[in-house]
Assembly symmetry: C2
Homo-oligomer: 347 residues x 2
DNA sequence: ACCATGTCTGGGAACGTTTCCAAAAAGAGA
DNA sequence: TCTCTTTTTGGAAACGTTCCCAGACATGGT
């Protein structure tokens, strides 16, 4: 790889002059400019990123931690981040959870990797860290934002969507369509964002006179396989219900797969709604009605806040983003509200 | 951030000694070792990656280029790469296609970014580059492998799966289940790997006496939306057929979504098979029969070859990986082979 | 001719490591 | 005690950049 010294030598100029041409700062005579440009082209010179980072202390790199790459939840957000950062002339480095330890240990290690790599700022998507981890982290690396989870100690650097509103809207959508016998597949009880949405969902049902005490509810791990097994368990239980709320789209997709297999017709026999509005909801069979969470707005504002703190910018940062419902075929109005839904035994 | 100078000063030793402790190379007396270790812990010292890279010329980083992050195709492969690299003590940096230019321009830019970043080696997943781009690239950066596509000029650095066999197996699966009236949704004609699998599929049908001249075939862009619209077009055409082959799983999932919507029962009225065996196939409705391509084997061998060339290793590299069928509910045997399938008009 | 005011240029210093090399210290054998 | 080896140590050099400073050179006003 050619260095700037080679460029300077070939162009017959000094180091400083060559550097001025490369960086575009400082004045250079037109004749020299042309000479150096030619040398750069001839040698296919590209400045060493490592050297620049070492000298300037800034890597122009933002690190992103996500727990897993698979699934349909994180990748769209990653895509948004990458686009925004590129537009700002920055680059994204991603770390995933990996290794032997538990989710918390993986997160700590992944984040350590990003710091070590010299990232100017960090974007963290994890809800398994404890406040104390954040405390230790803040000591090492101040410039970071957290997406989709709020840590009390750094609430100002956390950007979340309104899961209370999301849960409530899911309930409203079902109630508005006449459903009152509703089953729920919740996510892990250890994840605060899951708890918030499910609690809000149940609260809204109660506020409308639904007895949530006798409602069928189970907990799964946010995976399609979990949704599938939960759906099977629900059907096997023969618990009467006309609608199913899944706390994320992936579980809803898994549930739809089971219902098709079992011969349960969605939405005619059973309505299903999801949560998140990930790409997997758009072409499921049937297409999934789901709570559209403002991931894009959350992400963009988080990035803006981070860049402000990293590079002394004044990008606008707002909080509180609208939650909407994406209505698709998996939700239908209950024709006869009072009568329990008839269901077939799985084929 | 503390530097090794701070460590040396705090421990009361010279720079070289501190460095020896950090890198673990060279002999240090037990007493000094303890002192330096303590200083490192106290200052929470972490060696600067940039400085190491600058000095050694090796970044311990492997760059991966993929065209898009969304969808279910690339992420599992990315996950495999990340796991393998971590196990080897290396790190992965990913670049996606982004920006204004076409796919080819995006790939060139993304790869340029990876080179600039100082990656020791490159893993490229793209079939839009031309041989001449590879030629230009090879001039700049020799250490690279290409996955899922073969460039003649660097065939030894390309790792692919056998799409001829894959296409043939898809055909065999349908023929074995009695299907002879088969529709096809191909991928983009510009992508060689698509062409190979579809040609092999058709060839196998012909070899078994199916007249592929009058077979219904359309071309889409590998997306679920494309699969959906192709399925609709097929139904609207009222072309008689008992099975549909989609050239990838994403299109198959989109097609399944349409069939559900239109009231076409899969597999009873129409069998559907996909290609790739991505995670999206596992919990579709119905679950998708698909050609399981050996992505893991391909990826691992590609990584091995790359690491051999980057770090003078002797990891085993093989070629030619088994292709299998993953049989799921979307494929059923044709009960009455001679009789055309009855179909309803979409609701 | 002289000085003031620019514009342009070249090279040293610094960034944080590791890798040398030489020197100091410590044993070991006589 | 002296010499010869071995272990341990400290610091200079280098990696490729950018920034700064000083100097060269031109321009223009007196």
């Amino acid at each position: 790889m050619a260095t700037i010294k080679d460029v300077a030598r070939l162009a017959g100029v000094g180091l400083g002059t060559a550097s001025r041409v490369v960086s575009g700062k400082g004045s250079v005579s037109p004749a020299t400019l042309a000479k150096v440009r030619a040398a750069i082209a001839q040698l296919d010179f590209r400045p060493s990123h490592a050297a620049r980072t070492l000298l300037s202390g800034s890597s122009q790199m933002i690190g992103v931690y996500i727990p897993v790459l698979s699934g349909t939840f994180y990748t769209p957000i990653l895509q948004i981040i990458d686009n925004e950062l590129r537009a700002a002339g920055l680059h994204m480095v991603v770390a995933f959870g990996a290794g032997l330890g538990g989710a918390r240990q993986q997160a700590i290690e992944g984040i350590a990797f990003l710091i070590e790599r010299g990232c100017d700022g960090l974007i963290l998507m994890t809800n398994v860290l404890q406040e104390e981890d954040i405390g230790a982290l803040r000591f090492k690396h101040e410039r970071m934002v957290v997406l989709n989870h709020s840590f009390d100690t750094i609430a100002g650097q956390c950007f979340t969507v309104d899961h209370t509103l999301g849960g409530r809207m899911a309930a409203r959508a079902l109630l508005d369509h006449g459903h009152r016998q509703i089953a729920v597949v919740a996510g892990p009880a250890s994840l605060p964002d899951n708890v918030v949405r499910v609690d809000a969902f149940l609260a809204e049902l109660r506020a409308n006179g639904v007895d949530t005490g006798q409602l069928w509810l189970t907990e799964r791990d946010f995976s399609p396989a979990g949704g599938w097994s939960a759906a099977k368990e629900l059907m096997d239980s023969r618990h009467p219900c006309s609608a199913l709320f899944c706390a994320n789209d992936e579980m809803a997709v898994g549930a739809l797969s089971y219902f098709q297999e079992a011969g349960i017709r969605v939405p005619h026999q059973l309505s299903v709604i999801g949560y998140d509005d990930t790409p997997s909801a758009e072409f499921s069979a049937p297409r999934l009605t789901t709570v559209h969470m403002p991931w894009r707005e959350m992400t963009q504002n988080g990035i803006n806040a981070l860049l402000n703190s990293c590079y002394d910018l004044r990008r606008p940062v707002t909080r509180g983003y609208p939650v909407t419902m994406t209505l698709r075929a998996s939700l239908a109005a209950l024709a006869a509200p009072a009568k329990p839904t008839r269901r077939r035994k799985p084929a």
